[in-house]
Symmetry: C2
Subunit: 342 residues, 2 copies
């Protein structure tokens, strides 16, 4: 009922050694003699002693906590990130303190302040962007920051992303090669770099084939808004024959509208492509052609960046861009036919 906090002093007393000896026993990289080590081990075991990480942090200046800011887990790309990142950091002896930022995301600065209050050793921003003022403060405090799946102008911030622009271009080339000429685009949240880069690449790919966007709507990365966007895009008589939706999550919404509200067949009437390759993309109900973001690889680079910055102090920012692989599935028509579709 009451708390029976066991401290290193209790262990020391029972083992008949000093508190420092106990501390040394539990600190990797230090040495104690076989004899006292055994005494300490036994005493610690008997009392159920484990070092207090918080008190340790106070001395070492390292909390072994990484702050993770993420906006919405509704897009199933992020749960995967949370899981993999958390596991990868656990393997390094770190743990993840989660902060959910409202999508409004104007409170990201406030949230990041709260994170800093915990003396985290690093921060991963997997959602909205932070003010460069705050970035400066983190830099001043020596807390490394890694942007995950987004970029920001501030040159001092490290970032890990996929090649969104290249991915967008690949998708454009694919649709063009399949004979599509009326390609629509459903955008994510306009403030996001992923959105901008994917759209830019897609437009470039179309232009290379002498085409321009046939239609464009905004879905803000939300399922419901993407549904509405799809309804608007297909309201007129001149419909697109292919749609690139800025991420898989919204692509599911678009496919659902096309099939179940408008009675269109995918891919026979309209091809749909997405971005991310979240698990449902390979479920037969959607079977979505998309660009795979290699989460494991992204996580590994993120952890490596963090560990390096923590150990050696943050040198110059690392900006890592990983290639995404085109995954061909059933939401795009098969190659063969290549003529006009009108």
């Amino acid at each position: 009922m009451a708390n029976e906090k066991v401290t290193s002093n209790d262990v020391a007393r029972l083992a008949g050694v000093s508190q420092s000896a106990v501390s040394r026993y539990f600190t990797p990289g230090t040495s104690v003699s076989k004899k006292t080590a055994e005494k300490i081990r036994a005493a610690a075991e008997e009392l159920g002693y484990r070092p207090n990480v918080l008190a340790r942090s106070l001395i070492t200046g390292r909390s072994r906590i990484i702050g993770l800011v993420v906006a919405y887990l509704e897009n199933y790309f992020y749960p995967e990130v949370v899981e993999r990142l958390s596991k990868a950091l656990q393997d390094q002896g770190y743990h993840v303190l989660v902060f959910i930022s409202s999508i409004a995301s104007e409170n990201v600065d406030q949230i990041t302040q709260e994170i800093l209050d915990y003396q985290v050793d690093g921060i991963v921003l997997a959602s909205a962007n932070m003010s460069s003022e705050l970035a400066a403060r983190c830099h001043a405090s020596g807390v490394p920051i890694v942007l995950f799946n987004r970029l920001q102008d501030d040159e001092r911030l490290s970032a890990v992303t996929s090649d969104n622009r290249g991915g967008g271009r690949q998708l454009a080339e694919l649709l063009v090669s399949l004979g599509h000429r009326r390609c629509g685009y459903i955008a994510g949240f306009e403030g996001a770099s992923t959105q901008r880069d994917r759209e830019k690449g897609f437009r470039e790919g179309l232009e290379a084939a002498g085409l321009a966007l046939f239609a464009r709507e905004v879905g803000n990365f939300r399922y419901e808004e993407a549904q509405a966007a799809a309804r608007r895009m297909f309201a007129g008589s001149e419909r697109p024959d292919a749609v690139f939706v800025c991420n898989d999550h919204m692509a599911f919404a678009v496919m659902d509208v096309l099939r179940f509200e408008l009675g269109l067949r995918v891919p026979d009437d309209v091809s749909v492509v997405g971005f991310d390759d979240v698990p449902p993309a390979r479920w037969p109900a959607y079977d979505l052609t998309t660009i795979r973001q290699n989460v494991d690889h992204m996580v590994a680079e993120t952890v490596a960046t963090l560990m390096q910055s923590i150990k050696e102090g943050e040198g110059t920012a690392r900006r890592i861009t990983l290639d995404g692989a085109l995954v061909l599935r059933g939401s795009t028509r098969a190659k063969a036919q290549t003529g006009e579709t009108r």
Copy 2:
């Protein structure tokens, strides 16, 4: 670049007051005069001072950290839990330290040890179960534990669950009322209380109508294993005409197999029902009849239990069971027809 840690002493010096005054200014419930408050505010602002939560914890014995253990975020019920729980706790000034336990889950004890090292004020177990030995240790340390969406024999553990048994029974009654007589069941991980309770309720519901399970397979809460289970269940010539899948996540897998591998129509050939009401359940591609677990309600009760235990010390364990609502959708046939289907 180097870290310029600002402490309460720095602020005190600049403001021309004592360190205690600064501490008091930042501690709710204490009082300082208008005049010094203003001096401190100004000095703190100038230096960018914020109290060190970790140092504070050392004194107060409260870290304002809640440990959350979760096994797999692949089932989209849990991302929702993480998001809502984290938000709700943020509102209370607490934050969530995430621990991912392998599904093997024999390392839950080890993980919980790591959690305790962080001096957490409470623990939420949203996945596997812990040994009662460890539960005893937590109890001894005065760290409250809440089981989320699962039960365990140990009477000292608080738990928040839905009425899984009642939900299972409701689904049985629904299927029976729709005229189904050959009801199959696809189980989750056998060690989970949710699995056991849902199956028990389902069987009871069938028995009340003089029926027994027509078929049973195990999917272990995994998409792929659920697919395999569905294939086995529908391999013979005597097929079920309805299936209760222990959670939505697996139900999607089952529907995909039925429709896209076996060419069966849902609900015309087979009715499918699930449990949880995760977001994809209401997407038109699945449109799944299910039992809704009210995550917000569950989270609220979890937070309330934690806060009470933290404040007043854990009294007797609270075991809260919330009703789940039946959500009728298109994966079950419409009422009308009530006769034999054979």
